[in-house]
């Protein structure tokens, strides 16, 4: 298990124990973290699970793949630390990961 901290737009903190192999999006949806919509269900096809990775964790989560970069074009207020949470897979190395949820997914 790895602890993931989601910080909602209003500042509410959600600490979630996530199983390795699941995605950061799945854990948010399962625990009703507000602001993660995941319209397409995790197919990297909609950009409604957009999150900002805490600067300290950008290196550990890695760079988006080209398909994810393309989908990020549809996200709003994209920053250098923007990721689609359906494309971040939970590993032991991500224990303690912090992500912030944007105000709106569109």
């Amino acid at each position: 298990m790895a602890k993931i901290t989601y910080i909602a737009f209003d500042g509410t903190v959600y600490d979630i124990e996530a199983r390795e192999g699941t995605t950061v999006m799945e854990n948010a949806v399962r625990n009703s973290v507000p602001g993660i919509e995941a319209e397409c269900g995790g197919a990297c096809a909609c950009a409604t699970c957009h999150v900002y990775v805490d600067p300290d964790w950008v290196e550990a989560t890695g760079e988006p793949q080209p398909m994810e970069e393309d989908m990020l074009d549809f996200a709003q207020d994209v920053q250098p630390n923007s990721r689609l949470s359906c494309q971040i897979r939970v590993t032991a190395a991500l224990d303690g990961l912090i992500v912030r949820v944007p105000e709106s997914q569109g």
Binding site: E39, C40, A45, E69, L72, D73, F74, Q76, G106
Partner: protein, 365 residues
């Protein structure tokens, strides 16, 4: 929904004014109107067709297939019975081929604006394009709702929408001699950049990065125009709009070096893809469960007799939002709809494998 004789004031009921009725240019009479041309709507054409019921389908997208065609045309689906793997577009194409013998009519790029029951118990359906239908039954197969353009997170943008900010181009002339700001990196953004550039006062294309998803040929043409100084290419994001009474004069943009600029712009076209919104379905007076339409599991009928609902948009205890569940719902709905459409006709249960009569309908016997 209530019959007109029961009054006009029923909460949530959409009723047409006489003016609206009079401007409806054509009225299409049919057995069934299906709202939504996604996989489940398409399979409903097949199941209804086997029972000799003809359908018209209305969808806000410009193509059939719903989410399968819009969100994941190239991506694999693994849980369609009989297909270990099939893409969203592959499934759509197969469903269209399967429905073809029943000659469905598609009304694409249109959204249903309202439904009312007529005195003879049929329904009148009107679209946002002022098209009107009279149908014996309605099938709502609207999935996650209607796809609508994504609105960029620019404060106060709503004031400019429809006047200076547009999400599609209906008439190019409305853009002539304007300073146009186009935002996005896909085919829509690039196509309109190239099409509007000759008639605009100026065109700025803004995208968040120096990489474009659009067809390489369009990208090359755009870059050539930029190099020739005939359009401005900017990498960054829009953070604010300036203007008066909905009429834009400038866009405030922040480029990728974090520099803020004021760019003269009197028209803006943001292309950030589509998102699903429930749309007017909540206003049709049907019983809902958390914004989904409640149905029974025998007929998949809503709280209004003659209006059925199948696929992701409906709810019943145990509902699973799977395409295969929608197919099952379509088959049972068709049996019930047949009793509404052709009340005097006995429905004979038959298999396509053995029934010559069904095979004739399919054009294979």
């Amino acid at each position: 929904m209530q019959a007109p004789s029961e009054g006009l004031n029923h909460a949530g009921l959409f009723m047409f004014t006489e003016v609206q009725r009079s401007i409806m240019s054509e009225i299409i009479e049919t057995d069934v109107v299906i709202i939504g041309a996604g996989p489940v709507g398409l399979f409903a054409v097949f199941e209804l067709g086997l029972l000799d019921i003809r359908c018209h389908l209305i969808d806000i997208l410009d193509k059939p297939g719903g989410q399968c065609a819009e969100l994941y045309p190239e991506k694999p689906i693994y849980d369609i019975p009989g297909f270990p793997i099939i893409t969203g577009q592959g499934l759509t194409d197969n469903l269209l081929a399967q429905a073809k013998p029943f000659a469905p009519t598609f009304h694409l790029g249109e959204m249903v604006a309202g439904i009312e029951r007529l005195e003879d118990n049929r329904f009148r359906v009107i679209t946002d394009n002022d098209k009107a239908f009279i149908a014996k039954a309605i099938v709502i197969a609207a999935g996650g709702g209607s796809f609508q353009p994504k609105r960029p997170p620019v404060p106060g943008i709503d004031v400019y929408e429809g006047k200076s900010v547009h999400y599609s181009v209906r008439k190019m002339e409305a853009f002539r001699d304007h300073d146009i700001l186009i935002v996005g990196g896909g085919d829509s953004a690039l196509d309109w950049t190239l099409n509007l550039q000759p008639l605009a006062k100026s065109v700025t294309l803004m995208h968040r990065r120096d990489a474009f998803r659009a067809a390489p040929d369009s990208v090359n043409k755009m870059r050539a125009l930029a190099e020739a100084g005939q359009l401005k290419l900017v990498f960054g994001q829009v953070t604010g709009l300036e203007g008066d009474d909905g009429h834009m004069t400038h866009a405030v943009i922040v480029d990728n070096d974090n520099q803020e600029h004021r760019l003269p712009a009197t028209r803006m076209l943001p292309f950030f893809g589509l998102t699903m919104k429930l749309g007017p379905i909540a206003e049709w007076g049907l019983n809902l469960h958390e914004n989904l339409i409640k149905v029974d599991t025998e007929k998949f009928e809503t709280s209004e007799p003659g209006i059925f609902s199948i696929g992701d948009i409906n709810w019943y205890p145990g509902k699973l939002k799977l395409i295969l569940s929608g197919f099952h719902e379509a088959a049972l709905m068709a049996q019930a709809a047949s009793r509404v459409v052709n009340p005097d006709k006995k429905v004979l249960f038959q298999y396509t494998t053995s029934s010559t009569s069904l095979q004739k309908k399919l054009g294979v016997a």
